[in-house]
C-alpha cells in the first residue's frame, strides 16, 4: 500500500493516541508502527514475560507485563497453594529469563494466610525452580504496612518481582490503592504480582487477572513411556484468564516443570476426575419414610357435600 508522508504521520499519531488510551507503551506503539504492518505477533518487547504457551501469550498480548500490576486470585483458601505455586513459577521463569540480573524476589505475606497455609519454605522453593538465596520474605503485621512495603519495593527497583499476598477483598485495598500500586510499578518498570487468596472478583487496576485452581498433577513417565506408579509428577494448574483486553475468556491447564523452569500447556488430564461437588452429607439417598401420612387426598369430594335439594 502506498502511503503519502501525510497519511503516515496521521496514522502514527492515531496509533499513539490509541496506545495512550489503552495504557500500553507509546514508544512500543511507535516502534511497532515503524516496523511495519506485521501486527501483534511481532510485539515482543522486553517488557513482556512470554510464558512460551502460544495460546496464553496470545491472550496476554505477548506475555505478562513486566511493568505493571497483575492479579492472581483463588476462590477458596484451600486453593491458596495453587496460587502460590503459579506466582512462584512466574518468578522462577523470570529468574531464568533474567539471566545476569541477580535481583532477588520479594514475597510479602499476609498474616492470616500464613497461619492458614504456612509460609514459603526455602527447600521447597529450591525444588520448585527458584533460587532461595535470592528470595526475601516480608511479614508485615497490618495491611497498611504491606501496602507501604509493596510500594517501596516496586519503587526501589531492586527486586525482580514483588509478590504481595492479600486475603480476600479488604475494604482498605480498593481501586485507589490498586491504581496507586499499578502506577508505581509502571513508573519503576518492575512487575508486581498481587495474590488475592479466597477472594471475589473485584474491579482493580491490574492489567490481567487470573483465577487459579488446582488440578491433578501430571503423570511421571519412565524412559520407556510406561507410567511410574506411586508417584506424583509436575504440578498442574487450571488457569482462567478472567480479565484481559481479550473479550473471550480463556481457560487452560498449565503444567509447570520445575526442572526446566518452563510452562507447558496440557490437555485436560484424562486421568483427572471431575472435581466432585460432593453433597454436604455423603451416603445414599434414602427413600421417603414409611410411617408418615400418605400424600394428601383430593379435597373436593370430602368437603363439598352434595347440594341439598
Amino acid at each position: 500500500m502506498v502511503q503519502t508522508p501525510m497519511t503516515r504521520e496521521r496514522l502514527f499519531a492515531l496509533r499513539e493516541e490509541i496506545a495512550r488510551l489503552e495504557g500500553s507503551s507509546v514508544a512500543a506503539a511507535r516502534q511497532e508502527a515503524l516496523a511495519g504492518e506485521s501486527g501483534h505477533a511481532k510485539r515482543k518487547d522486553s517488557h513482556r514475560l512470554s510464558l512460551d504457551v502460544p495460546a496464553l501469550d496470545g491472550a496476554l498480548e505477548g506475555g505478562l507485563p513486566l511493568d505493571g500490576l497483575c492479579e492472581i486470585r483463588s476462590q477458596l483458601m484451600r486453593d491458596a497453594p495453587a496460587v502460590t505455586g503459579f506466582a512462584l513459577a512466574l518468578a522462577a521463569l523470570l529468574q531464568r529469563k533474567a539471566g545476569q540480573d541477580r535481583s532477588p524476589v520479594l514475597w510479602i505475606s499476609d498474616t492470616v494466610t500464613a497461619m492458614e497455609t504456612g509460609i514459603p519454605y526455602a527447600l521447597g522453593l529450591a525444588d520448585f525452580g527458584l533460587r532461595p538465596e535470592r528470595f526475601l520474605h516480608a511479614a508485615p503485621r497490618r495491611l497498611e504496612e504491606a501496602l507501604w512495603l509493596a510500594e517501596t519495593a516496586v519503587e526501589s527497583g531492586a527486586f525482580l518481582v514483588s509478590i504481595l499476598e492479600v486475603k480476600g477483598n479488604p475494604a482498605h485495598f480498593g481501586l485507589t490503592e490498586s491504581r496507586r500500586l499499578s502506577l508505581r510499578a509502571r513508573a519503576a518498570g518492575r512487575p508486581l504480582l498481587l495474590l488475592r487468596q479466597s477472594a471475589e472478583e473485584e474491579a482493580s487496576s491490574a492489567a490481567f487477572r487470573f483465577l487459579v485452581e488446582p488440578a491433578p498433577a501430571a503423570i511421571r513417565f519412565l524412559p520407556d513411556r510406561s507410567i511410574l506408579g506411586g508417584s506424583i509428577g509436575n504440578p498442574v494448574f487450571r488457569l482462567t484468564l478472567e480479565k484481559s483486553r481479550n473479550p473471550a475468556p480463556l481457560s487452560l491447564f498449565l503444567e509447570w516443570n520445575p526442572h526446566d523452569r518452563q510452562f507447558f500447556s496440557v490437555n485436560k488430564p484424562e486421568h483427572a476426575r471431575v472435581p466432585l461437588k460432593r453433597a454436604a452429607h455423603s451416603g445414599p439417598h434414602l427413600s421417603a419414610s414409611a410411617d408418615r401420612p400418605d400424600s394428601p387426598q383430593d379435597m373436593g369430594p370430602v368437603l363439598a357435600f352434595d347440594q341439598a335439594s
Binding site: P81, G124, L149
Partner: protein, 472 residues
Amino acid sequence: MRLTALDEAAEAIGLKKNQGVAEARAIYPKLDIAEEDLGADRRLLDGIADWCDRYTPLVALDGPDGLFLDITGSSHLFGGENALLKDILLRLFQMGLDARGAISSAPGLSWAASRFGSGGVIADEEMEQVLAPLPVASLRLAENTVAALQKLGLKRVGDIIAAPRAPLARRFGAHLLLRLDQALGRDEEPVSPRRPVASLSAERRLAEPVQTEEDILSLTGQIALSLKASLEERGAGGRAFELMLFRVDGRVFRIAAGASQPLRDPKRIAALFSERLQAVHDDLDAGYGFEILRLNVMRHEAFDAAQEDFDGDRQKDVSLSTFVDRVSARLGADCLQSFHMRESHVPERAVTAVPAIDGLSSGKRPAASGFSWSRSERPLRLFRQPESVEVSAAEVPEGPPESFRWRRILHRVCRSQGPERLAMEWWIDGTDVRARDYFRIEDDTGHRFWIYREGLYGQMPPPRWFMHGVFA
C-alpha cells in the same frame, strides 16, 4: 514506718532519717509524708543520667542517689573543670534539683567531697588535705565498720591515714584500706558506664531548639557529614547508629537504627532516621524542642570501597540495601527475612529465617553441597506447627492414608508418594522421639499435601498423623 528521706524544711525542724513516722508527727504534726517509691526514684535518676550524657558519654549510676561522670577529655569543651561543674549544678538547680558535686582525680574522693565536704574542684596535690577532716563514713564503708572505727576513736579519715596500715587491715579487713587508697587516688577505680560507649559520636548544640522532623533530619545529615571524615580515617562504615535528642526540659530520646551494610554516606544515614522517626512518631514528643542532637556510631565495620563498574550492577545492590534499611528501620528488623539453609534433615530445622539486615552483609552463602543427600520434593509452604490430621483408615503397616479429615474437610487420597522416613536428631531431641514417615498426597480435587505419620502401627501409643505443608 520510718523516714527515709527529708527535705530542707524538715531537716531545719530537726527531723532525722530513720526516725519513726509517729515520732516525727509528734514533733511536727503538720508533717506531709509521701510513701517511698523506689522505682520512680530510679527513673528520675536514669533521666538525670541521660541528661548528663551531654557532658560525657561515660555516666555511671551510683547507688540510689548519685551519679559518676567520667569527664576525662571532655572538660575543656565546657571551659574547664570549674565551669563544667558550675554549669551542671546550675542547670540541675534550675530544674529544681538540689545537687552537689565535686571533681577530682579519684571517684572515691569526689564521692566523699560531694556528700560530706564542700565539693568543688579538688586539685591532685590537695587530695589528702581535703579528705583528712571528713568523717570515716565518707570512705563508702559498711555501717558496722564505721561504727567500729568510731568506737575506737578513729572519727576522721585523717586518723586512719595517719594510723599504721597493717593493724588496720588485720582488724577491719583489706576493704578499708582499699577504699582509702581509692579515695586518695593511689588505687585505680574504674567507672563502669551505664550504656555501651559509642565508638564514634558527633553532636550539634543549638542556640534555638528545633521541633520539626525536617529540621531534625537535616541536622542529622549535617552531623553525619562531620562523622564521615572519622569513619573514612578508620576505613569503616557504621552498621548501628543511635540518634540522641536532648529536649530542652532535660528529657532525652534515643532512636536506634541499623543498616544492612556499613554506611558512610550522610544522606543514607539521615534516610535511616527518616524512617525511624516515622515509626516512633507517636512516642517522640518534641515539646519545646530539642537543643542538642548527637549521632553515635554504636557499631562499625570495615567499609570495603569497591570500584563502581560500568553496568551499574552496584547501583542495584545499593537500592536493595537501602530498601532493606528502610523497611527494617520502619517495621523492625524481624519483618524482612532471608532464608539460610542449615545442615539438618528435619524439615523445620533445615531452614532458618535471618533478618535481612544481618543476612545481606554477612555474605557467606551456605554451600549448597551440604544438601546433596537424596530427598524427595519438599512442599512450597510449610506450616509453622504441624497440624493434627484425623485419619480413619490407612494402609498398614507403612502405607499412606486412604482418606483423612483436616480442618473438618474430608479428603480422599487419589495418589500418594512415599514414605520418606525421617528419624529425628537424637543429639537434640533425645532417643524417645518417634520417627516420621512423610507422604506426598494428592486428593481427588487436585490439592497436594505433605503429611506424615509419627510412630508406627502396632506400637503403643498408636501413631498420629500430621499435616506439615502444602504443595503447589
